[in-house]
Amino acid sequence: MMPEPRPHRLRRRPTLWVAPALALVVLTGCGSVHTREDAAAAAATAFHKAVAAGDTGQACELLTESARSALADNGDCAAALADTDIPEAGSVERSAVWGKAAQVVLNGDTVFLTTFDGSWLVRAAGCEPDPPRPYDCAVEG
């Protein structure tokens, strides 16, 4: 005998109430973004001040390892940086921080940074827009 049809209902997977929690986690994760933007801007400004002062050794300390390697195969970052055309830069126009990466737009230059052990280091500097390609940077690691 054919069993009596049961009411139609969906019964394949349980309902979960976690999406709002996810949105909350994502949003609260951005809570300290202004502090981080300020810190990234300070690192970019410090790099440019060191370059402008001719203290390329100090400026190299503010570069990521990969940027230093890209700049000088022989390891003499300070000398290589002195020979690199980094434009002069003024005040900070805007900063953007997403995760462990940042972009600081200064009056005269755009700098890209990344965090290492909580400190912002310059990954690329002397950058000019080259759409639709990435920024064309004098120093980039």
Binding site: L22, V25, C30, T64, A101, Q103, T114
Partner: protein, 224 residues
């Protein structure tokens, strides 16, 4: 206790599978993420940092939204569309929201019907659509979460590749957002269509998702 476990076994089993799979996703995700970080000469992250990152959140949310959309459309689709021979479908000719008598609402409600099913007006209208409404809200929130987490992950990648970051408005029109969305949707839609069609001809003894093994291929809306 044992009785409660048995009565709720289906829910509990799938919740346990969900947690196990989410943990597995986190462990494999952080390994893959750090592999990419090292390839880009960037610093690896801890598991705790990864599970609170936008990269993990967007991967989770994009799957959630597509699952809830699948069920949302399935619930709505099976109201108005039928498939002859499928246990997932109503019988041909029964398309639509059905009569109050068939739905046991208002004066046709049983003694043990939910309270709002016995009422008329706004409460009955809401309760009659409550499953779709809740699934729709969860879908919407999941999709919103995908867009927010996706923006954060996308912009981090943009900055690491020396591109300008984009706004939320720019991101929801981006190829990244729609590629993540559509690659999930296509698989969900295929799975539903496969389930509807395969259940016409194939059986799983004992499963209410299947017709009884001996049911004819023409039998529609019959569950095993």
């Amino acid at each position: 206790m044992k009785g409660a476990l048995r009565r709720n076994g289906l829910t509990l089993a799938f919740l346990a599978l969900f947690v196990a799979a989410l943990i597995g996703q986190a462990l494999t995700g952080v390994a893959e993420f750090n592999h990419q970080q090292l390839a880009d000469e960037l610093q690896p992250v801890s598991l705790a940092r990864y599970v609170t990152s936008a990269a993990f959140a967007v991967d989770v949310a994009e799957n959630w939204q597509s699952e809830y959309l699948q069920f949302l459309l399935y619930i709505l689709g099976t109201v108005y569309l039928v498939q002859r021979g499928s246990p997932e479908s109503k019988k041909v000719g029964e398309e639509g929201a059905e009569s109050d008598e068939e739905q046991k609402v208002g004066e046709y409600a049983d003694a043990d019907s939910p309270k709002w099913a016995r009422m008329r007006g706004f409460r009955l209208a809401v309760y009659s659509r409550s499953l779709v409404l809740v699934m729709g809200v969860i879908f919407g929130l999941s999709w919103l979460a995908q867009s927010i987490a996706g923006l954060a992950a996308y912009d981090e990648e943009q900055l690491n590749q020396s591109f300008d970051p984009v706004s939320w408005g720019g991101y929801v029109w981006s190829a990244d957002f729609w590629n993540r969305t559509l690659q999930n949707w296509q698989s969900e839609f295929l799975a539903v269509a496969s389930m509807v069609v395969l259940s016409i001809f194939l059986r799983q003894r004992g499963s209410p998702q299947s017709k009884p093994v001996g049911s004819s291929h023409q039998a529609t809306g019959v569950e095993g």
